[in-house]
């Protein structure tokens, strides 16, 4: 006696759910990185952390990816122009205490 196909339907549903979540998470990651592969193993010098700009817990905010964001407007954006856009000289954020603002 063979197993009726209805027996396998729940397994199909489960596999379909796994496939859906994998595709959704991967697509989201792809969107967040501007269609490029995500960076991994990035150190404190390289990384961009949005909370580093507002949090006191991160002592060394990322420099390199923050600079990319200032140059291109997007954390994963890249540009090979020899000269920075106007206003780049002065838009470097300083982390200060609230009472000095």
């Amino acid at each position: 006696m063979g197993v009726p196909f209805e027996t396998l339907l729940p397994y199909g549903v489960m596999l379909g759910m796994f496939a859906f979540s994998a595709a959704a998470v991967g697509g989201l990651r792809n969107m967040q990185n501007g269609g490029k592969r995500a960076r991994r193993g990035i150190d404190a010098w390289d990384q961009y952390d949005a909370s580093a700009m507002t949090s006191s817990l991160v002592l060394t905010p990322g420099v390199v990816m923050e600079r990319d964001r200032r140059l291109t407007g997007f954390v994963r954006g890249q540009t090979d122009k020899p000269e920075a856009p106007k206003g780049f000289e002065t838009n470097n954020p300083w982390r200060v205490e609230t009472r000095y603002m």
Binding site: K36, R37, R39, R40, G41, D46, M53, T54, S55, S56, V64, M65, R67, D68, L71, T72, R76, G77, Q78, T79, D80, K81, P82, E83, A84, P85, G87, F88, E89, T90, N91, N92, P93, W94, R95, V96, E97, T98, Y100, M101
Partner: protein, 154 residues
């Protein structure tokens, strides 16, 4: 600034006041991280003297280097920008292929050696800038000239 280190740095301040006019203007370098990494050894090849000069100035300035070495710093910026500009004018296709590969491979040079070889060849032929890794032991083959890459994913 106060002599005390800031502690509760919850806020950022973006001060848009430009530099005073008595400081000569220099355009900041506009290349972002992947193009800079791709061009780094060529920048080193052309600008070694300026970079060493700046670092020596900062070492000898006893912590006031940001102010006292601005002249040397402008030379460093201008030299790096000139290298990027020259590469853009002569080897743009190879340059873009290489830095886009770097950007897609976690900015790891070892994963983009085939693109790098084409870029190195073009830059050496047209700009006479050769990539040499400082500190390689005498007589050992430079890592970027190896044709076989065991761990590269493509």
């Amino acid at each position: 600034m106060a002599s005390r280190q800031p502690r509760f740095t919850q806020q950022v301040l973006i001060d848009t006041t430009p530099l005073p006019d008595d400081i000569p203007k220099v355009k900041e370098l506009g290349a972002s991280s992947a193009p800079l990494l791709s061009a780094s050894f060529f920048i080193g090849a052309r600008c070694k003297a300026y970079n060493d000069d700046y670092m020596m100035c900062k070492t000898e300035a006893n912590g006031r280097g940001e102010f006292e070495c601005m002249k040397e710093g402008r030379k460093v910026t201008r030299c790096a920008a000139s290298v990027i500009k020259d590469i853009n004018e002569t080897c743009l296709a190879e340059f873009r292929t290489h830095w886009q590969c770097l950007e897609n491979h976690n900015q790891q040079l070892w994963n983009c050696r085939s693109e790098e070889r084409k870029l190195n060849k073009c830059v050496f032929n047209k700009l006479k800038l050769e990539k040499t890794i400082p500190g390689t032991p005498e007589g050992e083959q430079q890592i970027h000239t190896r044709v076989k890459n065991t761990f590269a994913t493509h």
